[in-house]
Symmetry: D2
Subunit: 137 residues, 4 copies
């Protein structure tokens, strides 16, 4: 199945004095899901730091906010792999409230980079193969 789903409950520290989710924290939310996705598929971030082989920095991010989210509210987040390139890939996230309405969207573009030379490298094969399994249509 090309789409992964998970739930997130908005925390007090995700909100600000306007009473709703602070926009930058939606990126934190979707990145939490990306991190869990990587762990569950055998590519935990921590391994990148201990092995010191390559890093996967984000080079572009964007998001839309369609409805305000308050603390304690639970949302469902869908992750799909939108695009797989030679040295980069794009993840797409859709956030739903529990009535099924879209309340937010996000996209992150990642590149694979050699840790020492800080230059782009091709997506390592096992990693590329894992991503292929989650490619949305």
């Amino acid at each position: 199945m090309p789409v992964v789903k998970d739930y997130y409950t908005v925390k007090l520290h995700d909100t600000d004095a306007a009473g709703i989710l602070f926009f930058a924290n939606q990126f934190r939310m979707v990145h939490d899901m990306y991190e869990k996705f990587m762990i569950q598929n055998g590519f935990p971030f921590q391994e990148r730091f201990t092995k010191g082989d390559y890093l996967i920095p984000i080079v572009h991010a964007e998001s839309d906010y369609l409805a305000p989210l308050v603390t304690g509210e639970t949302v469902e987040i869908e992750l799909a792999v939108e695009r797989i390139g030679e040295t980069s890939f794009t993840l797409r996230y859709v956030i739903y409230d529990l009535d099924g309405h879209v309340v937010g969207k996000a996209k992150t573009v990642h590149v694979t980079m050699d840790l020492k030379t800080r230059t782009k490298i091709s997506l390592p094969l096992p990693f590329r193969q894992m991503l292929e399994g989650y490619k949305g249509e």
Copy 2:
């Protein structure tokens, strides 16, 4: 049972360039658990803001760090009500790694405050009764 338990997986954004949990984020972790505890016991934070009856600000916090935590690491957090006073209460948290070693501790002191007058008020009775149920020995 006087102690509540939950799991938390350290996120990349909880860490800093030293490679481990940034100390202030341990407070975010334990507060997440407090928030979940309040929701599960019928006192969701959001109700305080919409009803506008009273607030429960933190007036003191402290924490100990016994071992470094890295991203992707799952810990178990125990919450207990340590003390219940007339206008305040104290929560105590112990954080364990999955081998059962204590890796962190925290304590937060909360007061109940009238939203309009900004003065301390006695703990509302239903809230006090709920807390009593979780009082550690």
Copy 3:
């Protein structure tokens, strides 16, 4: 002058275990500058909450990351008003290192919203006039 400039020094808590700025925190950085810009131009955020007249939520955000930033590094952030619509406006940010290289970019789209009805309203005139003064060419 259509462009506002300010400096920011990357903090340890802005970074993560990869040793560089966590991507979502670049949004926090540019939003800090937007907030300062609003204060200096007579539209402090806190006034929106106390007056309770209207809010200015962000409905879209995007960013590019051109170079890694480490803790202690000082960057220069430029803010310009890119577009002013009937019920919305767009801010554009360019981030430079101290050698003058672009290390990041961001864009945020804001709408003005009635606090009670939660519907879009036209930009209040004094606010619109203030923004006009910072419109980039």
Copy 4:
């Protein structure tokens, strides 16, 4: 002079839906000042990561909150070195509003630790000497 002073303006993302500073973010505030203090005295954090000689983790932290802080509010933070031990030191922070009232306090205990062995080491001499210059009476 044993005390260092600096100003901080509370940011929207420092607050939460209660309309005031989220307690954990006061630790972020005082740590920002500690980081600036280290840079200005020749011990930038980044050097610890690139040299990889030793780290200075926090093992204990505590704070008091005496008055609510809202976004846009500027406070003055005082830092003093309270105690210098063989392998650890304690920093003390006092936060004032612009009328001179104490609105918050904090304390952080730091140890010096060998990066490889993860064991405590004596404070390196030049670092100890720097700290001595800021010891409060």
